[in-house]
């Protein structure tokens, strides 16, 4: 009897010791279960199944705003195209995560962009630019929760339109017999030179505008001399109009025509393209999927062609705010001072031979090693935020 009792108490002690030993394991077990549950929950919140479980069918997506009648800017209609569902889901999710990253805005975040893959692959990459100076991973983790500002000290703003006038001569435009002047030629603000964009329209009151880069008016905003003119050789200039609105975040200034010259939808390139509308965000994504190239005509560098490097980009390195809905394309040699305000475009795949659709504005370029592209606000972004269209 007593033997049995001792045996029992011995067993009890053993199980207790085991339990104490196992206590650690249980904590690990609990952490694994809780961590795994949290990971699954977060994956669900991000919506990974949207693209992981996408089907093999096709979905319709709006790729462009195009004029029914090439001569009537108020006849724009949405154009839809069918794209693979898996590709659409991947691009859509990449756009969402890109937006999420820019809003978390962790320290060192300088910007990011989405690079869609081709239709067969059904993939999309989010390219994130992070400042590498002095930020250890630990610091980054610590600051992730706090949302600290971005260090921009090492970047200098070269986007001022300077007076390096010994450079090549700007392309001058002359009003045609119809009193219209094409896009892609030089225009002058009281302080600097930029490129004139094609006619921009606003549905409110059916207004049409000349358009160029807003930073060409740096230093004189609010003064009464906010005029835009067309240099026509020598010291002569023709009046185009006065600024209707500044959009500093988009870096676009719209100019009300006052001088008898009208904005037009022609671009001053060899083929004399006619602007028929603009691409949407997904329209640009389909261009990337097809490895298509964009073109532009700048007042200084003229006509250049290049590949799209990223859509719906966020850039936070030039000002104390972030610019969204940016388009990155080409290389840094495609843009120089005086080309700001030009537009990037691509042939309208369903239009006539000389019809083109606008992708976005060109307002700045990279000036740091490792990357090479031109960037500016996408036309779709301007439509979303301010209602303008080409």
């Amino acid at each position: 009897m007593s033997e049995v009792h001792t045996e029992r108490s011995g067993q009890r002690r053993a199980t207790l010791r085991d339990r104490i030993g196992r206590g650690l394991d249980r904590r690990e077990f609990l952490r694994t279960v809780a961590g795994g549950g949290y990971a699954l929950g977060m994956a669900h919140w991000i919506g990974v199944d949207d693209f992981l479980a996408a089907g093999d069918d096709e979905v319709p997506v709006v790729t462009a705003l195009v004029r029914d009648d090439p001569a009537d800017p108020w006849s724009i209609r949405e154009r839809t195209e069918r794209v693979p569902a898996a590709w659409y889901a991947a691009v859509e999710k990449a756009l969402e995560i890109n937006d999420l990253l820019s809003r978390v805005g962790f320290t060192g975040y300088l910007g990011s962009a989405v690079v869609p893959g081709d239709f067969e692959s059904g993939t999309a990459t989010v390219s994130v630019g992070v400042s590498s100076e002095g930020h250890s991973v630990n610091e980054l983790l610590g600051e992730l929760a706090e949302g600290v500002e971005i260090d921009v000290e090492t970047f200098i703003d070269v986007d001022d339109i300077g007076d390096d006038s010994e450079a090549s001569e700007p392309r001058l435009g002359y009003p045609g017999t119809d009193g219209r002047v094409p896009s892609g030629v030089a225009c002058e603000t009281p302080t600097s030179l930029a490129t004139l964009g094609p006619a921009l329209y606003h549905p409110d009151g059916e207004r049409r505008f000349f358009v160029t880069a807003d930073h060409a008016f740096d230093g004189i905003e609010g003064s009464t001399e906010e005029s835009l003119s067309l240099p026509i050789g020598g010291d002569d200039a023709a009046e185009l109009g006065t600024v209707a609105r500044h959009h500093p975040v988009a870096d676009v200034a719209t100019v009300e025509p006052t001088g008898g010259i009208e904005p037009t939808n022609r671009i001053d390139a060899p083929s004399s393209p006619r602007v028929r509308g603009q691409f949407t965000k997904f329209g640009l994504a389909t261009l990337v999927a097809r490895d298509a190239e964009l073109e532009k005509v700048g007042a200084m560098t003229g006509h250049t062609v290049g590949k799209i490097q990223g859509i719906d980009a966020v850039t936070c390195f030039t000002d104390d705010f972030c610019r969204r809905g940016q388009l990155r394309w080409g290389g840094e040699m495609d843009l120089t001072d005086g080309d700001s305000g030009s537009v990037s475009y691509h042939r309208d795949p369903e239009g006539e031979a000389d019809d083109v659709l606008i992708a976005g504005f060109n307002n700045a370029r990279t000036w740091w090693p490792g990357q090479s592209y031109v960037w500016g606000v996408g036309a779709y972004r301007l439509t979303e935020t301010h209602g303008y269209h080409f």
Binding site: L24, R27, E28, R31, T32, A34, G35, G36, Y38, A39, L40, M42, A43, I46, V48, D49, F51, L52, A53, A86, A90, K93, A94, I97, G117, S121, G122, T123, A124, T125, V126, L141, L144, A145
Partner: protein
């Protein structure tokens, strides 16, 4: 009386410190796992790897993370 003193000492140091340390660990775990989920999502967006591999890597990663960090904690 003796009981009271020991209890108040515990309140000032032991349990508070333990609680702070526990909260710190939990927050650290959540940040680490969040980054892991984000990394995997971006990797699978860019590669188009299958769904089962995503969930397998997700859970294996959490397991490995816990096993590795458990040694640091004690």
């Amino acid at each position: 009386m003796r009981n009271d003193t020991s209890r108040s000492e515990e309140g000032a140091t032991g349990p508070v410190r333990t609680a702070v340390r526990t909260i710190g660990r939990v927050v650290g775990d959540l940040i680490a796992i969040s980054l892991w989920v984000l990394f995997l999502t971006l990797a699978f967006l860019a590669t188009g790897w299958p769904r089962w591999a995503f969930y397998a890597l997700l859970l294996v990663g959490v397991g490995v993370y816990v096993a590795v960090t458990a040694a640091w904690i004690d």
